[in-house]
Symmetry: C2
Subunit: 679 residues, 2 copies
């Protein structure tokens, strides 16, 4: 055909011949090129912008020039003048530009439907944008008395025809109640929100281009929200708020106790958390200049008790063995069913819990850190009041939780406090003089640097936070102030008067101001108990997997983000590993919620993975207790930590090794392994 | 196999050999015999009762005896003593009786899952019981810490395994909120309600055997409810209530006008009708000894405006051309979405509307009268303020509505009243003396019979109802008091002083009491306009179908139930037909709602049929006006009514026939037919 012209799309490389005058968008669609559009090619949404390449493309045998497509028409001009963003320099609306001669057209990342939302950490997957809720602008056939059919049925028909939505089923009642007015107000053109390609959940007259989603991580202490633009995947605003359930109990178990002691206490806590979520959403939406009604989709993660309370399920069963979840499936609900004040027909997706102690927050961590896709064996640890532990690779994945208690968060520590201004977060101790220097949150200088005193005067030195405790204990151990078995060594009082008698035990004076900040023997014991629980849980999973070491470690959560992984390993919180292979993931649970928000297939993915994860209940494993006891020592009574020792010289043991050494443990593990292979 | 025994089930005739000791229920299930059970063979529900036949069954070569099954065991004894109904005489629980020797077992109708709910009228289908909501008693595996899974997931698994519910998907949130307590209170045995084999909607601890449904017909004037036992299909109570929307407007169009004039008027009317429905349900449930919470399913029919107002949709669009429905599909919703106070997770099914003027009530009529299955051509007419007309057979079905106005209901008639005590409902006029005799509602005697005066004294003779008007006009016409063109003939005053001058027209004094009841010229005109509209609508459908006569006529609705079909035909409300083939269906719309309640497949059936029905909009058919004018005469200006004339001698025409006779009409219709064939 003489009138045919060749078009080549980059970066996909898709190419084809089309009749002269075909729009670039049409050509792209027919070739299966990923070009975004909400308005369906009417020059209203500006999502389909492309770059017409200029130059000689020998490889394609094309001399491509800007005028090989038609010049700007009125529609394009109008869009450029009237819209908020306009057509970007050097770009064209692919729905208006018609191909006149052979041409090479580049589809920039932000014009693709399934664009990549880039994450900052190189070791994790980018998010492929594919939200559960999408907008479609559609022309609806007008009613005809002679062929009577409902407005809804004609809308569905138009959507199927114009958007190829073959799985479309039905619409929400509220949409039906608003539909006739919207169709007439919009002169038979409306925009609809479609949930998972199946169900209509909202309608607007005419063209509408705003759709937002919110990902929410309900922690026992803090609730965090990320408000995202569903078109770009961009986070528009993030916020946190205290979980008001704290007034019913600081930690999870005390909240469950509250429910057991107070009939109706679960409903109180459900109301409290939902109210806080609504406040948080309202605040975050306002910050982003978005109305809560424009939020069309939401995702939630949280530990099992937060998960149940959000859903209005009494969490009593999670308070004791056998820790039965009401459900371990992901759930899709109406926002209204949860009393979440966003668009009333917005859908809410709650990620699945994994087990009675391993919640939807861990499912979020898995979605973010993808251990189920890992070639090597990765340990993912999310430390909060409970530590959730996931271990394995693409071949096999295990999960458990371990009752670390709140010591890592600064609770149960004499001078402990939450990570806030004035809290000591970094500590170094001179091994010779035993003199400390430290940094506090809110001040860049070390305490021995000039200007520190002046700067810190305003903040005060108010206490020590979780990461500070880890560092000070590790430094005390490295300096010999604490023995490997966790005793503050009174003999060191001879070396420094910071080591002071404290009744029948000793303490270390970290800061002599007001308040005085000292590390007591009880503080050391609290951290020992917490870290032993964490290590024992990890070790148990390693036993189940039949391994002696892990290839990589990911520390998730706020605690993991702030501690120095070297010190965490010196204290034996985590097993031996190449320090370069230990990374921090930040709030991976919240990121998982965001991934599930931006990519609908991630929901199916995590539900699949969760089903396959092997759940280990630490509380009933007889070996847990033995592992716990061995893990009380710094870094460990029997594990040799060869890689750590290469990086950090550890003090020589001051006591003899435990009688039940590595040999015994090794034999047990080997037996375990052969049993598993036999099964 | 020597230990095998033969069992033959009647009436199905299914037979098979089973190991000695197999329960009769097990054998029946394996053979696909339809035996009911809620408890799944645990001797709790008593639904599976069978009769062991005694005698020599030569045909099967079996000598069957009662002791060819095992004797009563403790379970059966306990059920018989503790349950409300016990084991019926001569019957056994098939889940307890074990086959010991060759035996013939009869499954009585009331022990079948898909039992027939017999209808009184021989010409209609019985209802096969197959409700959308079924109860299943189930044993749920207890939680195991080592294989953690949600209580819901274990429940779903047990249901799939024990009840073969392969399409089971999910559960409502409220069920999930109640599930853990129900499972523990019931010692891991619960009963669940399953909607359409797919979704769990309610749970009770232990064994639960009460499930009810309600079918509701929302008329413009009256709302009717039938409360049914979903296990037996039995109607436990029926009730009616005035539609409180009457205060917004007597007829449909005045209600639409109310909405147009009063912003928010639609919401007012929605609230009013829902409140009335709730009152009606509460009253009906109380009468049947049922709690509204035990109603697990509801179905609704109503004309398009009632349908939209029930759903909370502004009916304005239905008030003018093109009469666009918001939807023409059947809808399944939560009771809570409609504010219907039954079980909050009960599902409500709203039958589909057919066209802007032909509603879900007509869909109900179709479901009840099954014209879509008819071999011969049937005309179904439901007369209310609008007449809905369905015409056709299994080959092709057409529907229309015709604006008859409220004259048939006694409105617009000088002495008209609703059908209530004291209303004249039957009239005979002596053609010689022109003296009338009549019957009033609430009294068995004719007015000329002894005892009438005394009996009627209490009631009074208060007015004339719809059926009375039809009879008196028909008798007046047959007696020559009214000419075929509808004029009360002043010449007849010479014969009887009941024919009295009334300004420029004449009237007929039917009853001289207090109040005086007379038939005025205006009354005759009102009925002429109504019947002409009805006939013209019918005639239009006959044109479309290309037929000159119908094989059968079904009159639906209260009006149809009370009029004498002969008189209806004498006046020309309906076309000529063998009078024996004209039947009355009563409240067929309500029956349709009941069928959809008791048989879930009926919902799919009616949705399919509705899609295929050809909808005719009378208002825009140019022929409608011509048909209307011809139909003003009694019985008709041009149609010859040969079958009617055979049964009832009609008076000779007093005027010449109209110039545009049957010839012309016939030609038009023939042209129409060939056009259709050509298409």
């Amino acid at each position: 055909m003489a009138d045919d012209v060749l078009i080549v799309f980059t970066p996909s490389g898709r190419r084809g011949r089309f009749e002269k005058g075909t729009t670039v968008l049409q050509a792209g669609r027919q070739l299966g090129v990923d070009i975004d559009s909400v308005c369906g090619g009417r020059g209203l949404c500006g999502r389909c912008q492309v770059k017409v390449a200029e130059g000689d493309f020998a490889k394609h045998n094309i001399k491509s020039r800007a005028d090989h497509v038609s010049p700007w028409n009125e529609v394009e001009q109008r869009y450029h003048e009237k819209s908020r963003k306009g057509v970007k320099p050097g770009r064209r609306l692919s729905c208006q530009a018609r191909i006149l001669d052979d041409v090479v057209v580049d589809v920039p990342a932000d014009s693709q439907v399934h664009k990549q939302v880039v994450r900052k950490r190189p070791e994790v997957r980018d998010i492929v944008l594919d939200p559960a809720v999408r907008l479609h602008y559609v022309d609806v056939e007008q009613p005809d008395m002679h062929k009577p059919s409902g407005d809804l049925e004609r809308l569905l028909k138009s959507l199927r025809e114009q958007w190829d939505l073959t799985e479309l089923e039905d619409a929400d009642l509220r949409l039906l109640q608003n539909l006739q007015k919207a169709l007439r107000d919009g002169a038979w053109k409306v925009t609809v929100a479609v949930h998972r390609g199946k169900r209509l959940t909202a309608v607007w007259p005419g063209f509408h281009d705003r759709a937002f989603g919110v990902a929410i991580d309900i922690g026992s202490t803090t609730i965090a929200a990320h408000l995202c633009d569903l078109a770009s995947g961009e986070v528009l605003a993030s916020n946190g708020i205290m979980n008001p359930q704290i007034r019913f109990g600081e930690d999870l178990m005390s909240r469950v106790s509250y429910v057991m002691m107070n009939p109706g206490g679960d409903a109180e806590m459900t109301a409290a958390v939902r109210e806080a979520i609504n406040d948080l959403i309202a605040e975050t939406a306002e910050e982003a200049g978005v109305s809560p009604e424009e939020i069309l989709n939401a995702t939630f993660v949280g530990n099992p008790i937060m998960h149940h309370l959000l859903l209005g399920i009494d969490p009593t069963e999670l308070g004791g063995a056998p820790f039965a979840l009401a459900t371990n499936s992901g759930m899709t609900l109406w926002a209204e069913e949860l009393g979440v004040r966003i668009h009333p027909d917005a859908r809410v997706y709650v990620l699945p819990c994994i087990a009675g102690h391993v919640g939807a927050d861990t499912a979020g961590v898995v979605l973010s850190e993808t251990p189920h896709l890992s070639d090597d064996i990765v340990l993912v640890v999310d430390v909060g009041t409970n530590a959730e532990i996931v271990l394995g690779s693409k071949d096999r994945l295990l999960a458990a939780s371990s009752p670390t208690g709140p010591a890592f968060e600064g609770a149960q520590i004499s001078s402990g406090q939450r990570a806030a201004s004035g809290a000591i977060e970094r500590v170094r101790i001179d091994p010779e003089t035993l003199e400390p220097r430290f940094k506090v949150i809110g001040c860049d200088q070390w305490s021995n640097e000039p200007g520190f005193e002046k700067k810190v005067k305003r903040l005060g030195v108010t206490g020590i936070c979780g990461s500070g405790i880890i560092e000070v204990l590790a430094e005390m151990y490295l300096a010999g102030i604490i023995t490997p078995d966790g005793t503050i060594d009174g003999a060191m009082a001879a070396k420094s008067d910071r080591v002071q008698q404290d009744g029948r035990t000793w303490s270390y004076l970290l800061h002599a101001g007001e308040p005085e900040i000292r590390i007591t023997q009880n503080d050391v014991r609290a951290i020992q108990l917490a870290k032993a629980a964490l290590y024992a849980g990890t070790r148990l999973l390693m036993d189940h997997l039949g391994i002696e070491s892990v290839d990589r470690i990911v520390l998730a959560g706020a605690f993991g983000a702030h501690i120095d992984v070297k010190y965490a390993m010196v204290l034996g919180l985590i097993p031996d590993c190449n320090l370069e292979k230990v990374t921090s993931a930040g709030n991976a649970a919240g990121t998982g919620a965001r991934i599930a928000l931006l990519n609908q297939k991630a929901r199916d993915e995590i539900e699949n993975v969760v089903r396959k994860i092997e759940k280990i209940e630490t509380a009933v494993e007889p070996r847990f207790q033995a592992h716990f006891v061995e893990a009380m020592s710094f870094p460990h009574a029997t594990a040799p930590y060869p890689m750590l020792r290469k990086a950090v010289p550890l003090p020589a043991p001051k006591k003899a090794a435990q009688p039940d050494g590595d040999e015994g443990g090794g034999r047990r593990r080997r037996r375990q392994r052969s049993r598993q292979q036999a099964e």
